[in-house]
């Protein structure tokens, strides 16, 4: 996000007059509401906010936000957003994308957006399926996913969005769940981070991949299946009965039981959002053996792409006048006088 003057708005100010056209019960509704609720808290200015999206169900998002919005083409939102931000670094740019949009057709652009560290928020709605094209398996679908294009089950291994992001050089990686009440806090942290903030949001496609995240998203069992990360806080779950520790021999994370709330005795790790190695391990934790790590996994800012471009442009232009006539006349010239060439 940018240093900007805080504006007072309400949720209503962020809603458009357009009829929302997602399927009834779609997780996208919850995410839309979470964003619209968060914007006033950020003090954001609708006139300076741009939502850029690619193609897919999630990418209809900009039509429902009373901001500037650009619904582009499949996979290319990061590239369009890069042009927007370089053209006007004052704008607060949000990219809305999906698992197919960001990791399949647009994988290359996502990688380069992250490595360049353009200041923007990327919300990747991961539903592990192609919804808008009626249910084909996606690059994040688990092996064996049956779909119209994989009637016998998919055979290829899925991509991990957060591992991809971190591998590509992301300086902010977070995870959230569409209906989770913690989502606005994740959005706020992402907005506060200067640089590309990458947020994977588990989103329930109730038509083509219903409840695919239920095993860790279900509210009933959430205490045991979700690890909510807070910077400076111990990595506890199961209502404080379990924690995450590092086995110093294998250099692997492990789940440990906490006795009498004494997590220090159990050597539970205190979450440090700037620790890139631990972020890798948290992302790679296999669900089942471990809980699902949610919240801000990694947050360690570096200078942004657009600020470097602006600085270089300014330095290169410093002390030079943009004299077009002089530019055209550069190099070796000769003059032809009236009445013939002058040698």
């Amino acid at each position: 996000m940018n240093e900007m003057t805080k504006i007072t708005t309400t949720l209503k100010d962020w809603e458009t007059d357009q009829e929302v056209r997602w399927c009834p019960g779609c997780g996208d509704y919850a995410i839309l509401k979470a964003v619209q609720r968060t914007m006033p808290d950020l003090g954001a200015d609708p006139s300076k906010t741009v939502f850029v999206s690619g193609i897919g169900c999630s990418s209809r998002f900009p039509y429902y936000m009373e901001t500037y919005g650009f619904h582009t083409i499949h996979g290319r939102a990061p590239a369009v957003a890069t042009g927007v931000k370089l053209a006007n670094p004052e704008l607060d740019v949000w990219i809305i994308t999906g698992d197919g949009d960001a990791l399949s057709i647009g994988g290359n652009h996502t990688m380069h957006l992250l490595r360049r560290n353009l200041d923007c928020q990327v919300m990747l709605f991961n539903n592990e399926i192609y919804g808008l094209t009626k249910g084909q398996y996606s690059p994040t679908s688990r092996q064996g996913t049956q779909s119209p294009s994989t009637p016998y089950g998919s055979v290829d291994r899925p991509a991990s969005p957060c591992a991809f992001a971190l591998g590509a050089g992301a300086r902010f990686v977070a995870r959230g769940i569409d209906i989770h009440k913690g989502l606005p806090d994740v959005l706020k942290a992402a907005h506060a981070h200067k640089g590309t903030s990458f947020i994977e949001i588990f989103q329930n496609c109730i038509v083509y991949n219903k409840d695919v995240f239920e095993e860790f998203a279900a509210k009933k069992t959430a205490a045991d299946t979700q690890l909510h990360l807070m910077n400076g806080e111990p990595m506890l779950f199961g209502k404080g009965t379990k924690g995450i520790t590092l086995n110093r021999k294998t250099l692997q994370l492990e789940v440990v039981d906490i006795v009498d709330g004494d997590w220090e005795a159990a050597d539970v790790i205190v979450h440090d959002v700037t620790n890139r190695s631990v972020a890798h391990m948290l992302i790679e934790m296999q669900f089942g053996e471990f809980p699902m790590a949610l919240g801000v996994l990694y947050d360690d800012p570096r200078p942004t792409f657009e600020s470097a471009v602006v600085a270089q442009n300014e330095a290169a232009a410093a002390g030079k006048t943009p004299d077009l006539q002089a530019l055209l006349s550069k190099g070796q010239t000769w003059t032809v006088a009236e009445g013939g060439p002058e040698l």
Partner: protein
């Protein structure tokens, strides 16, 4: 090619009386032939001669030494009269090795002069060039004059005092050769000396060695003249090629890529917009990215994207945010940008797309010229996706075309494609430096306040252009995208009648560009008659010269050169129908021909060449003869 004078006086009296010379430098791709040619061009321009050049090099950066496919050549045609092409046949061929001789000698006119580096004609190099016998010795070059010099040995001798290694010393061969060429045509060495001092400022020994080689080559020429023809079967004399009559003013040499870049900068200034240029490296378009990346003080931001699609997508994003978005590529890259062009058409944002065409399809002939992307430009997108298209005819014309492309893009809120080609991009010609104060500004206006009756992002002005609204403008939030939009509102609208109407509006808007384009003129000859030779792009030079010769011989022929490929000038159909026959020489298999037939039902006949080389004047003359008989 086209200097200002020639554009003003296309019917100026012929040229046959005045002298011109065509010289081709050919060597290994590591021999520095392009540099040699470039410096010879500079010294020739400084002497006031008109000129045109044709750099012809292999796709490999350093092909294996001495091979036939590794030959790099640079041809220059210069004279004391108007020069429109790089010349049909060289008068002088400088061959730095057997492969260069073999691949180039057949182009040399009978009686022309070969200067060969005999030191390179050993068995190994002869084998690589697939010569069984040494052509310098076996009499096979009898129809030409032959001057064999051991340039390698002469160079080594000249640079001896500087203590360079053998390999480094031999690298000065091209300067020795250039020195000889400068002497032959009485050109001044000083600009080259200055250039060498600048280029090797950090390596003074190398600079001095190169200067010594240059001087030695020059001195050799002087000595050779004095000693008559004791130098083998050929002999050397120096020739004076005077200055060409040109319009008064200040001149420089310019390549197409330079002129086009300068035109884009000028266009952005005339529009009052900062420029955003998104590019991805590709031959022969990269030079534009290189030029613009050094012009930050002109409000230019350049972005080397991760691929061709990102390059155009970022340019579209920048245009959306209120800068002038520009992208550039060659055929294969343009193909990748196709979907994004559709987005710019649908969202009605200004954008300039430059295509420096090369031989295709697929990777095709990366370093060779062709005009085969005309269908791609006019038709190459999904849906009914009309887009204005302009084609430059020469390096200096690229400057004006770039400005025109920017004007159309911002005034009509549309992407515009600007076609050039590998020949124009690389070729150099003298350029009368335009007076900036004479360029007419076309300032851009953004919508910045809420219009009466509310915001309609797709409301239209008299040109059918929609308003340009920058994100960041207070209160004018709206959404755009690639999905069909409702008339005026821009909201998603799949309605049948709406799509019909919006498609018609997009068509009419682009066709309306013809209202701001001058009527099609006749470049040479008169309207109506027996035969029109219709061309576009870089075929201007050979067509113009061929038609000029035919007209002077009393033949009823005219030259029509089309700059506005889409939409075409309004009078073009009637003009074409005023001739009995129409022929269309193109460096493709007949693409403009098809477009003319389609638009006007005229029986346009194709004249095609896709050899990677420009047309020669003689080839066009032959086509004229055939169609007049």
């Amino acid at each position: 090619m086209a200097t200002a004078l020639k554009q003003e006086q296309p019917n100026s009296p012929n040229s046959d009386g005045a002298e011109n010379v065509v010289v081709r430098f050919a060597g290994d791709s590591g021999d520095g032939m392009q540099l040699t040619g470039g410096q010879f061009t500079l010294s020739t321009a400084l002497a006031g001669s008109d000129l045109a050049t044709f750099p012809d090099f292999p796709a490999e950066i350093r092909a294996p030494q001495g091979t036939l496919f590794g030959v790099s050549a640079f041809q220059i045609n210069f004279g004391s009269r108007a020069i429109e092409t790089a010349g049909d046949q060289p008068d002088v061929l400088i061959a730095m090795n057997p492969a260069a001789l073999k691949t180039n000698v057949d182009a040399l006119r009978a009686g022309g002069l070969i200067i060969a580096d005999a030191g390179e004609f050993g068995k190994r190099n002869l084998d690589k060039a697939k010569y069984e016998n040494n052509p310098l010795e076996d009499g096979s070059l009898a129809k030409w004059q032959l001057l064999k010099l051991d340039i390698s040995a002469l160079t080594l001798e000249a640079v001896k005092p500087f203590g360079l290694g053998n390999k480094e010393a031999l690298r000065c061969k091209n300067m020795w050769t250039l020195g000889l060429a400068l002497w032959m045509f009485e050109r001044d060495r000083q600009p080259i000396v200055d250039w060498l001092k600048g280029k090797f400022a950090k390596l003074p020994d190398v600079a001095e060695a190169n200067i010594a080689a240059l001087n030695a080559g020059h001195a050799y020429g002087e000595t050779a003249e004095l000693s008559g023809d004791g130098l083998g079967s050929g002999h050397l004399t120096s020739r004076t090629v005077g200055a060409a009559p040109s319009a008064p003013g200040k001149y420089r040499t310019v390549t197409g890529a330079e002129a086009l870049s300068l035109g884009l900068v000028a266009g952005a200034q005339l529009a009052g917009l900062p420029m955003f240029f998104g590019g991805y490296p590709i031959t022969p378009a990269s030079a534009i990215l290189h030029h613009l990346s050094r012009l930050k003080e002109f409000g230019v931001t350049t972005f080397q994207a991760e691929d061709e699609i990102a390059a155009i997508a970022a340019a579209i994003g920048a245009s959306y945010a209120g800068k002038l978005g520009i992208t550039s590529s060659s055929g294969p890259g343009i193909a990748l940008k196709g979907e994004a062009m559709g987005l710019a058409i649908m969202t009605e944002l200004p954008l300039v797309i430059v295509n420096s065409q090369r031989g295709g399809p697929s990777t095709g002939l990366p370093t060779k010229t062709e005009q085969s992307d005309l269908y791609q430009a006019v038709y190459g997108r999904n849906g009914d996706a009309p887009m204005p298209i302009i084609a430059a005819r020469s390096p200096s014309d690229a400057f004006e075309c770039a400005i025109e492309a920017v004007r159309i893009a911002v005034q009509y809120m549309t992407p515009v494609m600007l076609l050039t080609d590998g020949y124009i991009a690389n070729a150099a010609e003298p350029w009368k430096i335009p007076d900036v104060s004479g360029l007419e500004p076309f300032p851009t206006t953004f919508l910045e306040t809420m219009p009466e009756g509310g915001l309609k992002p797709y409301a239209r002005d008299e040109k059918l252009a929609r308003p340009w609204i920058k994100p960041g403008t207070p209160g004018l939030m709206h959404r755009i995208g690639g999905i069909e939009k409702g008339i005026d509102t821009g909201h998603i609208d799949y309605g049948a009648a709406n799509h019909q109407k919006m498609t018609e509006i997009r068509r009419d808007k682009v066709l309306g560009v013809a209202d701001s384009v001058p009527d099609q003129d006749v470049a040479l000859g008169k309207a109506g008659g027996k035969l029109a030779v219709v061309g576009w792009g870089s075929t201007f030079g050979p067509i113009h010269q061929a038609v000029r010769r035919a007209v002077e011989a009393g033949k009823d022929v005219a030259h029509i050169h089309i700059r506005n490929i889409w939409p075409m000038p309004k009078n073009l159909g009637d003009l074409l129908k005023s001739y009995e026959r129409v022929i269309v020489p193109e460096m493709n298999m007949g693409q403009l021909k098809t477009l003319l037939r389609d638009q006007y039902l005229v029986d346009a006949k194709p004249v095609n060449k896709v050899s990677g080389q420009p047309f020669t004047i003689a080839e066009i003359e032959t086509a004229i003869e055939e169609n007049l008989s």
